[in-house]
């Protein structure tokens, strides 16, 4: 491929590309994101390639693996163009039928369509599925249309036109002005206005500056940056180059965690292709602007998502944060001005340059503009990535898009903001999603993880879980974090194990206050949030654990017991056979009993007991009923009575 040397050549090349592509030629786009791959997307892709070959259709139909469109719950999924037919939970066995029916005969395979559980109506197209219909997918919507390994696919949907516009129609000041006007706030956690960060670096006297992509997505239960980086790496790269132009940097870094191997491969490939096409390197598009981008793999440390720790890691050292008396946009990597933004923030930049700040600000609330991608996970019917305009009520995300709580269970809380965030209870479900709104409710936006919890989730255990995570990930540099969080974890663990004491809550509050005041970086300062927010909204659960040694959610292992109701047990022996600890005493026609001293509380009996009997139940805060007498245990079947 020859270099592209001017905006005109770029447009010409794009036209050539488009003219070679017949929009009416059938195209099968199969999601190859992490979720779909785990449910077998690679086998489906291979099956399509083989079937197309077998039916001799190679010239008439294209099939490709693409980025993640978000509906992980129903993966592996695919979309067939030009009709945009969407099939869900596709298996390799379905492939011959799809090719012969839908591709050749133009008929729809009804059983692979989405069925609305409420109305029973089927949806042919992606855009008709309620999960998608209620979203605003400016960023993630194109994922299913492009092969992330093909720069031509990105160019065909208008890629690098924003870079061309920025370099040739706008001055760096104008680019900066547009981003400032858009009020784009950092998507990684803090929500700091990107434009102001850029401006600080631009105005710093030091001539050498850097731009950095923070792709160290460490929040457990969050994978939106991964989907963007794996699915559309060029959009991030384009944003980064525009940012470099705006602040006057000539070097960029992408810090991506090694736990995302596909993201590492795709972004490296994207850089190589961009260099070949002349979007990176010297004299980009003939503009005299130079920029090079390097990839640095993170080696697994949550704290490296913090800006100063990340920059230390980039320098080849252990990623520990430093005090921020001077912000890193003034003194950052190698002591030079460095603009660090999150993946999603950078991906927004080309859209803002192309469509303008006014287009961007039409979405959102007064203080939070644009759209935001959330990973909607946990006890929710439709797990997946959702992109919604800021300001949408939480309720709409959970019920309209997420489809509510599965299994007829009751909603309890939604946790946002990762380990630094908090839990939002049902009473606040009308809350509009935005940076300041979530902070006011005691949580935060964070990078966009949204974990839904139902009545079976214990909120004390949730706080313990996050503190455990943070204790593990604390870098150990400052005392309030290293020691304080550890003590908090100890107390919370005791509470969940029934060893809580009067005064524990107050002690936890005191430790929280110290960590918030005195920890060095955001990890430590925000570590008490999971505890404080659950205490604020679910204090009665803490008190039940401490005072009554009872777990209201029937979740904490040490506080519950499994018992078999003798009235309901039919001595079917399923639980007896499945129990991994041989803790069930029973036999044919003998009502079963859980031997408490052997029971490991794995819950297998509870799960395998046929729902029509429902004989196994969990109890907490009450004594285990004494076993019934041996005579009463024998079941005499009605049919045998005669």
């Amino acid at each position: 491929m020859a270099r592209i040397n001017s905006p005109e050549e770029l447009e010409q090349f794009r036209q050539t590309l488009l003219s070679q592509r017949d929009p009416n030629k059938p195209l099968i786009s199969i999601c190859a994101g992490a979720g779909c791959l785990a449910s077998g997307a690679n086998e489906v892709i291979a099956a399509f390639k083989a079937e197309i070959e077998k039916q001799g259709l190679k010239a008439e139909v294209d099939a490709k693996g693409t980025g993640c469109p978000g509906f992980c719950e129903r993966g592996p999924l695919l979309v067939i163009y030009p009709e945009e037919i969407c099939y869900l939970q596709v298996k390799p066995e379905d492939v011959p039928e799809i090719v012969s029916q839908t591709i050749k005969e133009k008929k729809i395979v009804e059983r692979l369509l989405y069925v609305d559980p409420a109305t029973g109506e089927k949806a042919n197209r992606e855009s008709d599925i309620p999960f998608y219909k209620n979203q605003e997918r400016n960023l993630i919507g194109v994922n299913i249309k492009i092969d992330p390994k093909s720069i031509d696919d990105y160019l065909a949907i208008g890629g690098y036109s924003a870079l061309s516009k920025a370099l040739f129609q706008m001055s760096p000041e104008q680019v900066l002005g547009e981003v400032k006007k858009s009020n784009l706030r950092g998507r990684g956690g803090g929500g700091f206005p990107a434009g102001r960060k850029w401006e600080g670096s631009r105005n710093a006297p030091e001539p050498i500056k850097y731009v950095i992509v923070n792709a160290d997505e460490g929040d457990p239960g969050a994978f939106m940056d991964r989907a963007l980086l794996e699915g559309n790496p060029h959009s991030i790269l384009e944003g980064l180059i525009i940012g470099a132009y705006a602040i006057g940097a000539q070097e960029g870094y992408i810090y991506v965690r090694q736990e995302y191997p596909l993201a590492v491969i795709n972004i490296n490939l994207a850089i190589k292709q961009a260099e070949e096409y002349g979007f990176l390197g010297k004299n980009i598009l003939g503009s005299n602007f130079n920029c090079k981008v390097l990839v640095h793999q993170g080696a697994g440390a949550f704290v490296c998502g913090e800006s100063t720790a990340l920059m230390t890691a980039l320098e080849g050292r252990a990623g520990e944060p430093r005090p921020k008396y001077i912000r890193s946009n003034i003194v950052g990597l190698w002591g030079r001005p460095s603009v660090l933004n999150n993946v999603e923030t950078w991906a927004n930049v080309p859209l803002i340059i192309n469509k303008g700040a006014d287009w961007f600000t039409q979405y959102g609330t007064e203080s939070s503009k644009g759209t935001k991608i959330f990973s909607l996970v946990g006890k929710i019917t439709n797990t997946g990535l959702v992109e919604v305009p800021m300001g949408i009520p939480l309720k709409d995300i959970i019920y309209k898009i997420g489809g509510g709580i599965p299994g007829g269970k009751k909603f309890k809380a939604v946790q946002t903001g990762g380990p630094s965030g908090g839990c939002i209870p049902e009473s606040l479900l009308n809350l509009e999603v935005g940076f300041d709104e979530l902070t006011k409710a005691g949580s935060m936006m964070g990078s966009g993880g949204m974990i839904v919890m139902d009545e079976e989730t214990c909120m004390v255990d949730v706080a313990r879980y996050f503190l455990n995570f943070l204790t593990d990930e604390s870098c150990g540099k400052c005392v309030p974090c290293r020691e304080g969080i550890r003590q908090m974890l100890k107390i919370l663990t005791n509470i969940t194990q029934g060893k809580g004491r009067e005064g524990d809550i107050e002690l936890l509050e005191a430790l929280s206050e110290t960590a918030i005041e005195a920890a060095l970086c955001a990890l430590g300062k925000s570590a008490p949030n999971p505890f404080l927010s659950t205490l604020k909204y679910f204090r009665e659960e803490y008190e039940a654990h401490i005072k009554e040694k009872r777990c209201p959610a029937l979740s904490c292992k040490e506080l519950i017991a499994y018992v078999i109701d003798p009235e309901k047990c039919q001595a079917c022996m399923i639980c007896q056979r499945k129990c991994p600890a041989q803790a069930i005493d029973g036999g044919k026609n003998r009502i079963h009993i859980v031997e408490q001293e052997k029971c490991t509380k794995c819950g297998t009996c509870f799960e395998v007991c046929p729902p029509r009997f429902g004989a196994v139940r969990k109890i907490s805060g009450e004594p285990v009923p004494p076993p019934i007498s041996e005579e009463a245990r024998t079941i005499v079947r009605e049919s045998k009575k005669k």
């Binding site: 791959l37 239960g221 640095h296 697994g300 980039l314 080849g316 919890m453 991994p580 794995c602 297998t604």
Partner: protein, 150 residues
């Protein structure tokens, strides 16, 4: 791991001290752990003190200073998997293998690690054995998966 291969990896990263983490990652990926001789060679070639290498090799989770088992088991402890019962899966694996997270058994058959989010939350709780994902795990199914590994 032989010295020539280590040198090749160092050369690939232009022998710069700032590439220390990247060099270690490459060696870890190929060899599955970091032998002492490799670290000594890196210290010499990159001109960084051994203390700094040790600091990095123990600070970051990706590195192991001991050999790994034949089968690597990863249990996702991400929040979504946690609320869906990941700790029960972990308990089952610990009972079965007799090792705790971060450990390798004496026969070098299993290494067990917990990870924070594999990004397939729709399938939670998730168990990964040698890179293959097993979703929607219960203690019973976990036992079935483990018994099939030889």
């Amino acid at each position: 791991m032989n010295i020539e291969r280590i040198d090749q990896i160092i050369d690939k990263h232009h022998g710069e001290p700032s590439s220390l983490i990247q060099v270690l990652l490459d060696i870890q990926a190929e060899n599955h752990w970091l032998p002492k001789e490799a670290l000594e060679r890196i210290a010499e070639r990159l001109q960084v003190p051994m203390t700094r290498i040790q600091h990095i090799a123990t600070f970051y989770k990706a590195f192991s200073l001991v050999p790994k088992g034949k089968h690597e088991i990863h249990i996702c402890m991400g929040t979504a998997c946690h609320v869906r019962g990941a700790s029960r899966v972990l308990d089952t694996v610990q009972d079965f293998t007799g090792i705790k997270p971060g450990e390798t058994d004496l026969d070098l058959k299993f290494s067990l690690e917990t990870v924070n989010c594999l990004g397939c939350c729709a399938l939670g709780p998730v168990l990964e054995v040698d890179g293959k994902t097993h979703g929607k795990m219960t203690p019973t199914q976990t036992g079935d998966v483990l018994r099939k590994i030889d």
